[in-house]
Symmetry: C7
């Protein structure tokens, strides 16, 4: 079994994740894709600020350099 960062992202495809971004921004959604820069694709995505949902999006492409962490 592999436990490298991209392996974990791969194992999380099609499941719900929390994505924390720099600057107190957070997304929740289903991980649909990623690449080596940790650019991410979320489906049924919701942007959260201070614990409150501020925007719902069918899908969203997040640029990897904004990511602090991804939690499956």
């Amino acid at each position: 079994m592999e436990n490298r960062p991209l392996d974990i992202l791969n194992g999380s495809l099609n499941t719900p994740v929390i994505v924390r971004l720099k600057g107190a921004r957070e997304f929740r959604g289903e991980l649909q894709g990623y690449d080596v820069h940790m650019n991410l694709v979320l489906d049924k995505a919701e942007e959260i600020r201070d614990g409150e949902s501020v925007r719902k999006m069918g899908s969203v492409v997040i640029r990897g350099d904004n990511v602090v962490y991804v939690s499956p």
Copy 2:
């Protein structure tokens, strides 16, 4: 079907997208092009600040390192 970040951008060509930039700046427009750095080309673009349109542009090239997310 591919779901990697650039595949999603490719599938969004010629359709309306929301582009969130660092620093509370947002663009809306039709995605006309992109590259591996997530540099983007929008057509019929509009810059939004705090929910209000502050500038309309026929077309705009956005440098990728400013992008937080792109939502088709």
Copy 3:
């Protein structure tokens, strides 16, 4: 017809552009050149701050990492 970001810059050579930089700085001028980093050369350039012209320059080389967007 190509619509990638650098194609749009190429198609804008010798025409007036607006260049928005990080930190509320803006340039207007004729695009004379560019490279893959989005370093730019403007001719008959004018630096704008808060909507007012603060400096006129015959020509200017802008380092790409400062660029937010270029609008033809």
Copy 4:
């Protein structure tokens, strides 16, 4: 015996570590994986702010550019 940074991370696999991030954020958990960018995978992870646990996560992928230090 090797003492290069990635060797130390390798020797810390499956053991508890403290991960300090930029901006006063800290994680504690078991190191499950890493890569050359210092992207990290923690298990039984806990996010700490000002010495207090603010969130527990089964597992988390931390993007390396946020890391200040890792202490085994």
Copy 5:
């Protein structure tokens, strides 16, 4: 005739330039050299802050990532 950014720097060798840096710092001097990172060498250089000369230097090597623009 070439108008790419580095061509313009090349054409400005041994002539006076203004170099604007991030953080309101500016240099004036004769451009003696440059490289692909836009690292610059100025001769008879003067550092300017808020329009006033704060330091004169025989010569100075400026690291490119600080540069906002160079104006010949």
Copy 6:
């Protein structure tokens, strides 16, 4: 004798060093390892803030992009 930056780090292995990080953080400890990114491994490490020891660690891996300077 070589005096390039990594040579100096190499010559400082197993000796005490001061490592200054961005944001007023400082480490003291024995340099056990390093790599080309200036990622560092310190042993018997101590984190210093405003001249006071705030944390002691058996060993620590510091990510290079936080480093301002290393003094043997």
Copy 7:
């Protein structure tokens, strides 16, 4: 004679230089080494803040990405 940035650093080996860093920090010392990232080695180094010496060091390795300019 060469005037590229690294040539000037090379010509300054074993002579006193001023190194200005981001964030109002400055070093004076003898340049003993450098590399392509503009990582620097200074000997008989002194850290200066607001014009006053705050620390003397036998030698110091400065990480290049902190450098604003080097003046021979």
